[in-house]
Symmetry: C2
């Protein structure tokens, strides 16, 4: 048995929370978007939440927990969707919310502590030097930079810069190991891949350096079309126009906007399929010229709208905020994460959505992916059973899509990351006891797991429901 009382004593002087209700709150993320994860993870909770205020305190937590054999799961603000920061085996949640300073801003670069909120980073970068982050998730206002790098993949801005996985989109990470004497490592170049999108299984990010880009004024535009195919083709067309500075291109099928975008639906006639666009102010004129030529109807423009009070920004209608708005209206829905590979993406989108009809509603996000413009999908699924959900994903794959399964809590089954020998060797070095976020890396937990079985991995250490 773990001696949590002894651990608490050993951590004296640190900011510790052990109120069960508050600990449970800090042990959760948005896993409940998935009915599968909701069933599997709803009971998960840590024993303690520790909130270090400095790098030295992070090292002390790691050293102490190592000595006591207590797992440590690092948490930013808990905006993940697959239990990235949920302590499957209990133990300590290390909450980095207190380490939220922006340390340095220079041309093209920003250094911050891991708990810095993305929106605060953007505000600071814009104020100091007219810069901003290259990309952010739809949770700009709440997510932390460490959490984004540790558990995210891209988002608003990926139409221009690709994803976090692309070299150059993270510049440097300082990472603490979990050993008898924790070390601080500086990682850059290819080495970053050991820690990016690894859910904190390979070390604790204590400092990040990210690239910045020019912060222009972004205008939200909603363009309407009479068919979803035309909205998707429009997204593809504008995404491929190299002279248009865009930050978001999101085709969304009816009736998603009408049913779920409660603040914006007054602008969107029934039956109309839309494309959300964020465009730099100086590219608005050219965008409108293209839009006219392609037969799009401008339904909304944030720069000329008469009353924008209470309207969320377009990015809070996009990526997984689309799903969130759906869940608020209809808790019975869920979603998928799909890649429609270039160059057949438009045809594939068309065939997939014709196949499913009203059961799977199309929502695309255009991105740069390996140098080409293609689209991810985060379609809304009218959920019935887990078996049907698996079948829907299988049909997608059979048709040629790549699924990043958001109904699994492991790195490998999510599909964004395969654990290779480099990763494993690094984990052996950085976390020899396997105490960092246990249960998330199948390659570590069960190297002989049969991915071909199509059965999902069940972490034997998953803290039992009490």
């Amino acid at each position: 048995m773990r001696d949590i009382a002894a651990l608490k004593t050993a951590l004296e002087g640190l900011k510790i929370e052990d109120n069960p209700a508050l600990v449970k709150q800090k042990s959760r993320d948005f896993f409940w978007y998935s009915p599968v994860l909701k069933r599997e993870l709803d009971h998960v909770t840590a024993d303690l939440v520790v909130s270090p205020r400095s790098e030295a305190e992070i090292l002390r937590v790691l050293e102490t927990c190592y000595r006591h054999d207590v797992p440590v799961t690092v948490r930013g603000t808990g905006t993940g969707n697959y239990g990235q920061a949920m302590p499957l085996a209990g133990g300590v949640v290390m909450n980095l919310a207190e380490m939220n300073r922006v340390l340095k801003i220079s041309p093209g670069r920003l250094v911050a502590e891991p708990g810095a909120i993305l929106h605060d980073i953007d505000v600071a970068a814009r104020a100091s030097s007219g810069q901003e982050m290259r990309m952010h998730p739809s949770t700009l206002k709440t997510a932390s930079i460490g959490g984004f790098i540790g558990g995210g993949s891209g988002g608003v801005g990926s139409i221009r810069w690709g994803g976090l996985r692309d070299i150059g989109n993270v510049l440097r990470l300082k990472v603490a190991t979990m050993e008898e004497r924790p070390r601080l490592l500086e990682l850059d170049g290819w080495d970053l891949q050991k820690v990016c999108h690894a859910y904190g299984t390979n070390g604790v990010i204590t400092e990040v350096e990210i690239p910045l880009t020019a912060a222009y004024d972004w205008i939200d535009v909603i363009v309407g079309f009479d068919s979803f195919e035309r909205a998707a083709a429009y997204g593809d067309d504008i995404g491929n126009r190299d002279g248009l500075l865009l930050k978001l291109v999101s085709p969304i099928a009816a009736p998603i906007p009408q049913d779920y975008f409660l603040r914006h639906r007054r602008f969107i006639p029934d039956g109309r399929h839309i494309c959300l666009v964020m465009v730099a102010a100086h590219a608005l004129g050219p965008l409108l010229a293209v839009t006219r030529r392609l037969g799009g109807e401008v339904l909304f423009r944030s720069d000329t709208a008469e009353d924008t009070k209470g309207l969320p920004p377009a990015y809070e209608l996009s990526w997984n905020h689309t799903t969130l708005r759906g869940l608020r209206v209809d808790p019975g829905i869920t979603y998928l994460q799909v890649l429609y590979p270039y160059p057949n993406h438009l045809d594939l989108v068309s065939r997939v959505h014709a196949h499913f009809g009203d059961e799977v509603l199309a929502h695309l996000e255009f991105v740069r992916f390996d140098g080409n413009i293609t689209c991810f999908g985060l379609p809304i699924v009218r959920f019935t059973t887990e078996e049907r959900l698996d079948e829907i994903m299988r049909i997608h794959e059979d048709m040629g899509c790549v699924i990043f399964n958001p109904h699994r809590y492991t790195l490998e089954e999510g599909g964004m990351k395969q654990t290779d020998e480099v990763q494993l060797a690094f984990k052996r070095e950085a976390d020899p006891k396997g105490l960092l976020n246990p249960g998330k890396m199948i390659g570590w937990e069960k190297p002989d797991f049969d991915f071909g079985s199509r059965r999902n991995y069940l972490f034997p250490g998953l803290q039992p429901a009490s």
Copy 2:
């Protein structure tokens, strides 16, 4: 006969040059890169050079020349390569060098007079707001913005932003017509295509508005490879990495750098093929990581080079400066302009250059083109006869390349622009007498010209050699 004396009288008070030697100097560009154009155009000269100092003076020149039936050929600084600004039918060269003010800089936008030098624009934009132009030709230090838009196509920066032809890369032009009472028109959106890359045949640009982007510090890197295929594949690889902020990617085959890059050749071992790269300072580390993985050897870095005195910047080794450096060493060479269409561009490059061997030396410029990364070629050709030059181009086309023929002085034969009904209708309106830069637009001069004949167009009004 034209009454040039009467015209001069009518233009009294304007800045006029009629010294034949000086007039001839201002009637030329870099047409002599082409042995064909050198033969055809070497004798071309205007009767007068007029240098207006204001929009009002431009209008006065146009009105007066219209009344006297004298052609007007607009000129920036004469850095074109196909006689864009050469007065084939004599008459007036309107030199816009005096109209060189930067008028306004704001986030994402810059307004300037047409004669503003590109380098001055970049210096002003950087000093005032940390911005710069999205793209420029290798003649940054000498070319004017009006000349670039009127006669250019893209260049350094096109790896990120595509070409001038892409909507959004020019925002607005003010254009004077040549009528009894010249008018000033404001063009934006698709209408810009009437005037962009039209060599001043469709109106005189009196003001430009262009988009700006963030001005980061750019580092020149020269990477060496043991085969040209590997240099080309490297260029393609880094061009497709969405997280790398690059401004120039130019693979160049040996022995071009060794023979022609006199200041840099001490860095480049014999037989080594190179790729020139301009990379943002904050993307250098990631670029070097990719370079190592791809087996490239860094031969030169401007940020760490011990002695950069007298070294031209990388962009002055690229695009048509590559050719210029070749011509300085060996006046017997010339060049082509080739597009290797995506997605078979690397294979095509390989096959084309294997076919020609030492007769055609490979020089590529990677660019974004309709949303994809592909490459233009400006290969060095060891010139023998015009017939062989034509044959070389035909072989390129037969293999699947697109040729933009730099050995022709018309818009259509250059191939960057086809004259359509919209263009012609606009020319009828803006230049009813056809006095603006006569001889450059076949669609106007000889609508029934047979482009299939493979014979080049000979402008009947071409001023005879005296």
